[in-house]
Amino acid sequence: MTLQVELVSPEEVLYSGEADMVIARTTDGEIAFMTGHAPFIGSLGVGAVTIRTSEGDDVRAAVHEGFVEVTDNRVTILSDIAELVGDIDATRARRALEELDRERDVDDAEAETALRRARLRVELADE
């Protein structure tokens, strides 16, 4: 038994395939799904999603908020902005992070989110 995983953004399906385990970060904390998981709906924060495929490879993606639904060994991740690690432009991500760091504004929630996103991108791109 494996999980059917789909990672979907509004414009396209980013990943679709079988996996043994999916790790995601909800607004309350990290959570991992394996086969037989109880039906679950959660809202995702800014974080990495790891899909461990049946072949044992890890597919990693930066997910900037979204939702996850689990039913009958089907895991669906919906996200406004999601990027597979391979699609992240490392140099661009790093430059964006530096820029955000420089003009840092701690009071601004939006800037804070942008900074978290940039950090996540760089972190994943560096792996």
């Binding site: 789909e6 979907v8 953004s9 509004p10 414009e11 396209e12 399906v13 909800t26 607004t27 309350d28 959570i31 109880a38 039906p39 679950f40 709906i41 959660g42 809202s43 939702f67 639904e69 039913t71 669906t76 919906l78 406004d80």
Partner: protein
Amino acid sequence: MAGGQEKVLKRRVKSIQSTKKITRAMELIAATRVVKAQQRALAARPYAEQITEVIQHLSAAGAGKEHPLLRQADSVDKVAFVVITSDRGLAGAYNTSVIRAAERDLQGAQSEGADYSLVLIGKKAAGYFNFRNYRIDAQFTGMSDTPAFEHAKEVAGVITEAFLEGDVDQVRLVYTRFLSVASQRVVVRRFMPLQAVPSQESDGPSADYEFEPAPGEIFDRLLPRYVEARLLAAMLDAAASEHAARQRAMKSATDNAEELETKLSRAMNRARQDSITSEIMEIVGGAEAMSHS
């Protein structure tokens, strides 16, 4: 003189030929863009479907019955119209049909005593309603050709805010549905308040869902995304329709040019033949006169 007419015709044939080249090129470009736009519309579908499914499961668990986006106003005092047109013309009746449908619906709402609010996408709608002194509340350009999710988000933000603040009681969407390359239809759709998503009571296991955070909280975050996804779907449909309409318009322009070209070159050839014949006649006549003297 006959030779003069030939020259005039020749010039016209040349100009028609170059116009034909342009319309043919535009036709081909539009054809490839229809295919691309269709693919984008298709690629966007899973998200919209999945998000609808999640909402159904959430409402089956009793979440969000009272969400403000589902609120039905007791009386509709103000209707917002979101009109999706293109930035560029040369697409046949594409823009005029959307605009006409929007205006008709708007006047219908007015005759029922409701005020209106216009949210326009595309230069063509803006131009039309501006010229006729309608009050425009928001206009967006540069997105109808290849709409992206950010665009849908931007527009959805404006509408949602107006609706949540109670400024408008209903939002209607006027756009062109893409049925196939050969057929597109203008539709006026109620967009807000959102129709209460039918909860499937028979769907047994949905009651056993675990939620993180609470269902209501997820619902509050999910519904705006749902609005955006639906708007994006409409915009992508409109974009595919725009390119299909342009392809059709340019095809008939090319066909027209071809027809004109044959007609005119025939006339030109006749004019040339006429002038040659009369020249021969003159020479023969001249020679005849000489030999007789």
